[in-house]
């Protein structure tokens, strides 16, 4: 009897370890709340990349315990292997590529063999294949009445350094299996989505004498000049309706945070400090911002009202907290845990809840930077460097599920999704 209990406890722990890529210090009993699902590849030519993307999508959703075995089957019938009878659902899929990509999916209820969902997805651009998978998994998730995970369908935009004074801006899916250069030539930095539909993005160009902010439509190529500034110019955040921008700029050689109203073309200086104020993010009701400032002698996270002068310190640990993001009353920030001038330092990402004043680390190993919330605030993206490798990490704040995707290529300058 005792052996059986130990076996069951070990079984439960192994579930947690299987999916724990980056340990969090808070343990939550959530395994038993997820749906058991298996994937059956019914393609004429099995593709391990397709299978892995399916696995990633189901895992990061936080709603599924997905069988990691790559089963082969036939989509034309509803037969379910006897060894999968302990699952709740089976997803059969058939992927094919000619001039376009096509994905057929069929969700079966294991208990009665009924088809719950069946759909065919296609896209003309072969390289955009990952988006078909993301779309199908987000719809399977919806059909089972789980909280929306449509953030997996979104583009990630990021800039990388290609040479001194040269960079490239890329579009990718969240797994980085799809990648495309969208801006090349010269130094183009700090890409930031301009609208929720991801049709336009802002970026800073150094082509002219002064840094200049442009808005680019990613489908038509229409490019609009927004503003220029001496010193530096960054679009740090965009209001939810897209009408206002938080900019870090230095018209008087002093970096401060400004709000630019695109409707009235008026500019409001939000911070006034003879040091460094950067990284403004709309917080709470968008009448406040959080930002990074060195007003205590080191970079740390602060909050202030856009229309009042009072400033609140938000973080009370660490001596170098130099990057942050906000969603509602949640703040994420990177904190340097070591102080070495001549080699890579250890950075960790922390989550702070303003309502509970609870702070907890989301990462524990390596150098973790560029923390970014998903569009619904449920998932945190970050860039991890560990043992000489660079990865993009995701942590689901509801399920504590973490995933890492290898990131090959040049040094990342900035990232948004």
């Amino acid at each position: 009897m005792h052996k059986l209990i130990l076996l069951l406890i070990g079984f439960t722990l192994s579930f947690n370890m299987l999916f724990a890529v980056d340990a969090t210090l808070k343990i939550k009993k959530d395994v038993e709340q997820r749906t058991h699902i298996a994937l059956i590849d019914c393609s004429e030519a099995q593709n391990s990349k397709v299978f892995k993307i399916f696995l990633s999508d189901f895992k990061i959703s936080g709603h599924f315990l997905v069988d990691t075995k790559h089963y082969i089957g036939d989509i034309s019938n509803n037969f379910i292997l006897p060894k999968l009878k302990n699952k709740e659902y089976v997803l059969k899929y058939k992927f094919s590529q000619n001039n376009s990509s096509k994905l057929e999916v069929k969700l079966l209820n294991v208990s009665n063999g009924n088809i719950i969902f069946s759909k065919t997805y296609s896209i003309l651009n072969r390289t955009k294949m990952p988006f078909l998978i993301h779309k199908s998994v987000s719809e399977v998730n919806n059909i089972l009445n789980y909280p929306n995970i449509s953030w997996i369908n979104r583009y990630v935009v990021y800039s990388v350094y290609s040479a001194p004074r040269h960079s490239e801006i890329y579009l990718s899916d969240y797994t980085f299996n799809y990648k495309k250069i969208i801006v090349r030539g010269g130094l183009n930095l700090f890409p930031k989505w301009a609208d929720r539909k991801q049709h336009n993005l802002y970026y800073t160009s150094y082509k002219n004498v002064l840094p200049t902010l442009y808005k680019l439509n990613i489908y038509t190529g229409t490019k609009t000049k927004i503003i220029s500034s001496e010193g530096m110019l960054v679009c740090s955040d965009v209001s939810s309706d897209g009408s206002k921008l938080l900019l870090t700029m230095a018209p008087n050689a002093q970096a401060d945070i400004y709000q630019l109203n695109l409707l009235t073309h008026s500019k409001k200086r939000i911070t006034r400090f003879n040091g460094i104020d950067v990284n403004g993010r709309y917080a709470s009701d968008e009448n406040h911002i959080i930002f990074v400032s060195n007003r205590l002698g080191y970079p740390n996270i602060f909050k202030k009202s856009i229309n009042a002068s009072g400033i609140s310190q938000m973080v009370y640990h660490g001596r170098n907290n130099s990057s942050c993001d906000a969603y509602g009353d949640k703040i994420i920030y990177s904190s340097r845990e070591t102080n070495n001038a001549f080699r890579n330092n250890k950075f960790n990402i922390y989550l702070l809840s303003e309502s509970t004043l609870d702070t907890r680390p989301l990462t524990t190993t390596g150098s973790n930077q560029f923390p970014r919330f998903s569009s619904d605030g449920s998932v945190v993206m970050f860039l991890k460097q560990y043992s000489g490798h660079t990865s993009v990490g995701y942590t689901n704040l509801n399920s504590y599920q973490s995933l890492l995707f290898p990131f090959y290529g040049k040094k990342v300058q900035s990232i948004d999704w």
């Binding site: 058991h36 065919t120 489908y219």
Partner: protein
Amino acid sequence: MKNGLLITILSLLFVGCSHKVPALNNNNNNISDANEISPDTVSIDDHNYDDSNNMKNNNILSSNVMNNSSDGFRSIYFAFDKYNISSNMQSNMSTNIKVAKDSSHKIKLEGNCDEFGTDEYNYALGLKRAKAVKDEMVSQSIAPAKMIIISFGESNPVCKESTNSCYERNRRVDIHLLK
């Protein structure tokens, strides 16, 4: 007692199995594309995108010389995470002030950082370094309107080796005439 404990553990493991099964909605059995991302996106070369004047590249000196400025100016170097001009840079500053006074052109001050900072903060640090040099020159009677400052953050390294001397060479302000 033992049976009760076993039942409790089994319940914890498999309580999620009763998730409500939705009915098949025939309206979903259609053909669809991934609509929002379906259209092809552009790929532009920003450097050649319009007729605006391109920045002149003034990186004409060899990177193994402890100077990346041009037109007779000397680069100013900074300590890790600092933006105050140290006493051992005063000789270079004296040279820069003399060259600035002798020139009728505008002067461009470019702040740079090593690779260890984070995105926006690193660009602001580079800007503070450039501003420190500008303020010193203003204090020596160089007109503020004669100078413009720009931060290149960590985007403009003169070397990429993982050595202390290389990191030190990247924490600098370069000065050029804007001709």
